[in-house]
């Protein structure tokens, strides 16, 4: 499995989840285990750029994928990803437990939107609108819960980065 650009060779049983493989076998503790049942989003990672819940994924199923965790999102030499910067700037966190999942999820969410993926709020007959409204961001980020309720800061951070992407 390729993880954050590095080929990792893992000797694990078929019942090990991708989340446990990352955390316990590879020491990547950025992805968090909030619920272990698909209900919180704290374990969100990217598989070939697609956001998934690592807790409900068997590691074996993703053996031929490129996995990206929060540890691997910044480009070489960049220090931090723009969304990480924005979360800091807008206080998009309190305890930080949900943050790695929120940021991985937001990266993929912006890519999905750019590729024309609708949400339940997007009109069916029209192409996805070019601008992400606040309601669209909330709906598209609803797979990531935050027990501290830092939602306003999270929304501000994502809107900030999405806005800049639209301009550039």
């Amino acid at each position: 499995m390729r993880v954050n650009g590095v080929v990792e060779s893992l000797d694990i049983e078929p019942w090990v989840s991708l989340l446990d493989a990352l955390r316990d076998h590879l020491g990547l503790t950025g992805p968090k285990k909030g619920c272990d049942q698909g209900a919180c989003g704290a374990c969100t990672v990217l598989a070939d750029g697609v956001r998934i819940n690592a807790c409900l994924a068997l590691a074996m199923q993703y053996a031929d994928k490129e996995i990206t965790t929060i540890e691997g999102i910044a480009k070489d030499g960049e220090g931090r990803h723009p969304l990480q910067e924005a979360f800091v700037r807008h206080d998009g966190l309190q305890c930080g437990y949900c943050t790695s999942g929120q940021i991985c999820s937001a990266i993929a969410m912006l890519d999905e939107h750019a590729a024309g993926m609708p949400s339940v709020l997007t009109p069916s007959v029209q192409p996805a609108s070019a601008v992400l409204s606040d309601d669209e961001i909330r709906e598209r980020m609803s797979g990531n819960l935050c027990r501290c309720g830092a939602y306003n800061g999270i929304l501000d951070a994502i809107r900030d980065v999405a806005g800049r992407e639209t301009v550039s």
Partner: protein, 324 residues
């Protein structure tokens, strides 16, 4: 999780040959992995089907669409042809679960996902579905999420899928394959009401692989809508949902499709309501009468009696919106 062996066949013949007693197909895993971790599903072999070439949406020669069983829920919802011709299906899928889960979940897995009844999930409680003949602790329990239509004295678990409600309204057909060959099952026959055997949930044999879902052409579905009522705005199962398609000419209903979620033990096609609506006036009163007729068979408990007026109101509101 109880240990199991894992195989990932890359062609169909290999996949249907690999399945046998004690084996389970694995799609996106969002339901099966959860149930295995809870100790409710205990397969000895897991046959991962995500390597099979069943992940395309194709146009059928006579019109309609053929959706491969391994098309991910997010890809199904985003498909331009689905969004244009069957908007109710795209909306239903997008109203379910979360973006992450939809990226993982497959059409076949969504179709065969198991109930979210909390007594089914918790081994401390009696559940006829989990252990036949042990009783049902939901009957006198917290029933806010439970069904009111198609229930029995053995089980009142609601069918959880949003996608299936839209498929029921669209007269979909499910194609399955096993070593014995291929057969096609109408959507209305796929899921079985609990009766005395709530552990028997579908018409599929345990070794049958879902290969595709076919949607026949349905001009009425171009104007269709999925409306879901739940305890929070997103990422929650339905209390009540409505999949509806309506065609009105000069104030008269010329075609209608109606199916309900959250209220039935199976994805609930509202045939009685459709019968009353067809050819009748497209008025709020007529919509209400049709809803009442469909819901007359409801058997409620204290915790879910609210679903009857809620379903009525949701049916009427959805049909009114479609009538314009």
């Amino acid at each position: 999780m109880k240990p199991f062996s894992y195989v990932k066949p890359l062609d169909l013949a290999e996949a249907v040959a690999a399945i046998g007693p004690g084996a389970k197909f694995l799609g996106g895993g969002t339901n099966l992995v959860d149930l295995m971790r809870e100790g409710i599903e205990l397969p000895e072999t897991v046959v991962d089907v995500t390597g099979l070439p069943l992940d395309e949406v194709d146009e059928l020669p006579g019109g309609g669409l053929r959706i491969g069983a391994l098309v991910r829920n997010s890809a199904l919802a985003a498909d331009r042809r689905v969004r244009a011709a069957y908007p109710v299906l795209s909306q239903a899928v997008l109203a379910g679960a979360s973006p992450q889960l939809r990226n993982m979940a497959t059409v076949g897995g969504n179709l065969l996902q198991r109930t979210r009844c909390r007594y089914f999930y918790d081994q401390a409680y009696a559940c006829n579905k989990r252990e036949p003949g042990t009783g049902c602790d939901a009957l006198d329990g917290f029933t806010r999420g439970h069904a009111v239509l198609g229930v029995s004295g053995s089980c009142i678990a609601a069918h959880p899928s949003d996608m299936c409600v839209a498929l029921a309204a669209l007269d979909a057909t499910v194609e399955v394959q096993s070593v014995r060959g291929t057969r096609r099952i109408p959507m209305s026959d796929v899921h079985l009401p609990p009766g005395d055997t709530p552990h028997v949930e579908t018409a599929l044999a345990e070794d049958e692989l879902v290969t595709a879902v076919e949607l026949p052409p349905a001009p009425v579905a171009a104007g269709s809508r999925y409306r879901k009522v739940r305890d929070r705005a997103s990422y929650a199962f339905a209390l009540v949902s409505v999949a509806a398609a309506l065609e009105v000419r000069d104030g008269t209903v010329t075609a209608v499709r109606l199916a309900l979620g959250g209220v039935g033990t199976t994805p609930w096609r509202a045939r009685e309501a459709e019968r009353l609506l067809e050819g009748g006036p497209a008025t709020e009163e007529a919509f209400g009468r049709a809803a009442d007729a469909e819901l007359a068979a409801a058997i409620t408990r204290q915790g879910n009696a609210f679903k009857v007026p809620l379903a009525r109101a949701t049916i009427v509101a959805t049909l009114k919106e479609l009538a314009g």
